[in-house]
């Protein structure tokens, strides 16, 4: 990834990609950062329409409600305050104010957040500060609170707290990035002195990637699943030849390299990434280490889908995809064998297939450096996801025993808890609106703050649905936002997790919608389908539910509606 290549991207025709408006505000010269952002965005299939404020105009643009910034009406605001300027400000303070420096800076950033939230609805990406060792006090700077080192680190720390407090405030970790590349790589004093540009041309693409990673995650472009090859990827050696005692994991040979990888993969699993195995092996032989090897960190219960056979890996990944029901573009496949990687890349170009280094010692650091698993939200339910997919596999096996769909659904004894959006569910619902691409009629993304506003509005109705059956709880799987407009109830948002397709939940939800409408004397329920490259699944959604198309809107007449029969029962006193 180099700057010249990103700059060439700027000449590409991206008119077919809907633009995403981004404002870039900096206290240094940001023109080339702007080019890198746009160019890297095009790499990632994003058409960033960038408003670049004039040099060092952050305050004016953010604090004045009539500024060009708010007129531009961005979806994202990137704020880049440089450590060089920060240090200059620090030097202007006298000693007794220096111990207050971080607090003052954090206050001013919070002032930006409040002003932005008062004037617009957008996400803020703030670059934290690269470390700068001024060595006024040497290492002693760590022992006193009026040193720049102390105040700089305090700012970076407290920025994280601002991020925890304000849901639309995201940190791009420039400090970590400079740590990885080194200050000499990131910053050139000659270029800074002559142009006021803080970063080198070589470093800018990486800074751009950090920001674009965050934008992509907020837009729902995230990885959900990691597929692992086994021999020489998950452990050293070949299980079929070396046997369980001979594979390298733990203290044997270079086993520590694989232990490190497994430790990291386990972290991913615990935070909600689904793990799958795709290996050329005999099934029982491949499973044995997961069940019996004492040094294996990944255990069989960590793996949602385990595929070990002698078929083509591209076909096997297609199978994994159909079980999990997620997009190929949300899957990552790691394999030490270049030929296998090529087969998967050639057949399934949407799957991310990292070019793993040859030396297993480098695996984990390399994969971490790619930052493949960026996310814009984390909820407690994420950790249960593997269990949910394992339950789904059980349902699939039961389903085979029934020839009649209705009998199968009846046998599941499904129960549902229907509620208006409750405070504790807001993070999960925001996440659903951000991540659901397939079963999403209008693909409107909501942040948690947006949803709080929706729940407070008297004309907007919200419904959330939690489904469970004899095999387990699906959790909150569907959400509705509907708006009363005179005598119609317009469905602003209808999303559902694809895990509960074909359970009759859509019909159940329709019954509830009509009930709300009739309770409020509303005559019509209306809905709209806005096509995206991903939501073809629900193209005929409203038609299938008996809505009638009038112009571009689907209409359901409340009075003539006959309740759908479903196999779902509302759970009384549900919690």
């Amino acid at each position: 990834m180099n700057f010249a290549a990103l700059k060439k991207n700027l000449k590409k025709d991206v008119l077919h990609i809907p633009p995403v408006k981004v404002a870039l505000l900096g206290d240094s010269s940001t023109q080339l950062f702007n080019h890198a952002l746009r160019g890297y965005g095009i790499n990632e299939n994003l058409n960033l329409e960038i408003f670049e404020a004039d040099y060092d105009q952050i305050d004016q643009q953010v604090m004045s409600g009539s500024s060009e910034l708010y007129e531009f009406n961005p979806r994202f605001i990137i704020i880049f305050q440089s450590v060089e300027k920060l240090f200059a400000h620090f030097c202007e303070k006298n000693n007794q104010h220096r111990s207050q420096f971080a607090a003052d800076h954090i206050n001013s950033v919070e002032g930006f957040i409040d002003a932005i939230n008062g004037n617009s609805r957008c996400n803020i990406i703030y670059l934290n500060f690269a470390e700068l060792a001024d060595n006024t006090f040497g290492h002693y700077a760590n022992k006193i609170d009026f040193s720049f080192t102390y105040q700089l680190r305090k700012i970076n720390f407290e920025l994280m707290d601002l991020g925890r407090k304000h849901k639309n405030f995201f940190i791009a970790d420039l400090s970590a990035l400079q740590n990885a590349f080194g200050r000499a790589y990131a910053h050139s004093p000659q270029i800074f002195i002559t142009t006021s540009m803080v970063h080198t041309i070589d470093f800018l693409p990486h800074v751009a990637k950090s920001c674009v990673d965050i934008i992509k995650a907020i837009q729902g472009k995230i990885k959900k699943c990691l597929i692992l090859d086994l021999d020489n990827t998950t452990w050293g050696g070949i299980i079929g030849d070396d046997g369980m005692e001979g594979i390298q994991i733990g203290s044997l040979g270079i086993g520590e390299a694989f232990t490190q990888l497994q430790r990291w993969v386990k972290q991913l699993k615990e935070r909600g990434i689904i793990l799958a195995v795709c290996s050329k092996n005999t099934d029982e032989v491949a499973r044995e280490p997961f069940e019996k090897h004492p040094d294996m960190i990944l255990r069989i219960e960590d793996i949602a889908v385990f595929v070990a056979n002698w078929e083509n890996k591209a076909d096997n990944i297609r199978n994994i995809q159909s079980v999990l029901n997620i997009g190929f573009d949300s899957m990552v496949f790691i394999d030490d064998n270049p030929a296998e990687r090529k087969i998967v890349r050639d057949n399934l170009p949407e799957v991310t297939v990292p070019e793993l280094p040859e030396d297993p010692a480098e695996y984990v650091g390399f994969l971490q450096s790619l930052n493949l698993f960026e996310t814009a939200s984390v909820t407690e339910e994420d950790g249960d996801r593997t269990k949910q997919y394992q339950e789904e596999a059980k349902r699939a096996s039961i389903k085979k025993a029934y020839t009649n769909e209705a009998d199968f659904l009846q046998s599941l004894s499904m129960t549902c808890v229907t509620r208006e959006f409750e405070k504790m569910d807001i993070p999960r619902i925001a996440q659903l609106t951000q991540r659901s691409n397939q079963f999403n009629l209008r693909t409107i993304r909501y942040t948690e703050d947006d949803l709080k506003r929706v729940t407070a509005s008297p004309d907007q109705f919200t419904l959330s649905f939690k489904l469970g059956d004899i095999f387990g709880d699906y959790g909150l799987v569907s959400a509705i936002i509907a708006e009363k407009k005179s005598d119609t109830l317009f469905i602003d948002t209808w999303i559902m997790s694809c895990r509960v397709l074909k359970r009759g939940l859509e019909q159940y939800v329709t019954n509830q919608l009509v009930e709300i409408a009739s309770r409020h004397g509303i005559k019509k329920v209306t809905g709209e389908y806005i096509p995206t490259p991903k939501n073809g699944l629900v193209k005929d959604h409203y038609k299938n539910l008996g809505f009638v198309q009038e112009n571009n809107v689907w209409v359901l007449d409340v009075n003539s509606f006959n309740q759908f029969q479903t196999h779902i029962k509302e759970q009384e006193n549900g919690s």
């Binding site: 010249a4 060439k8 080339l32 000659q190 002195i193 002559t194 540009m197 080198t200 041309i201």
Partner: protein, 80 residues
């Protein structure tokens, strides 16, 4: 390396960075003579030239070059 050879190599870098195969420079060329040569592309040219010849310009040099000739003389100096 002779100055003429340096100018020729610098010319190739200009074509590449400015993304224009038509660009022809001589010792007398200044930023006014080349359309795409502005303060933004200047810094990209400097970085590309530094990488190509494996040299470093000082900040004074970066700001002070009056024309391509001065730049190439500085390169020749550094190459020794």
């Amino acid at each position: 390396m002779e100055v003429n050879e340096i100018i020729s190599q610098v010319n190739t870098i200009f074509k590449d960075v400015l993304d224009n195969d038509e660009v022809v420079i001589s010792a007398d060329s200044t930023a006014n003579d080349v359309d795409e040569w502005d303060s933004l592309t200047h810094i990209q040219l400097i970085v590309a030239i530094e990488k190509h010849f494996k040299i470093r310009f000082s900040s004074g040099e970066i700001q002070g070059f009056k024309n391509v000739g001065e730049m190439c003389a500085a390169i020749k100096n550094k190459l020794g």
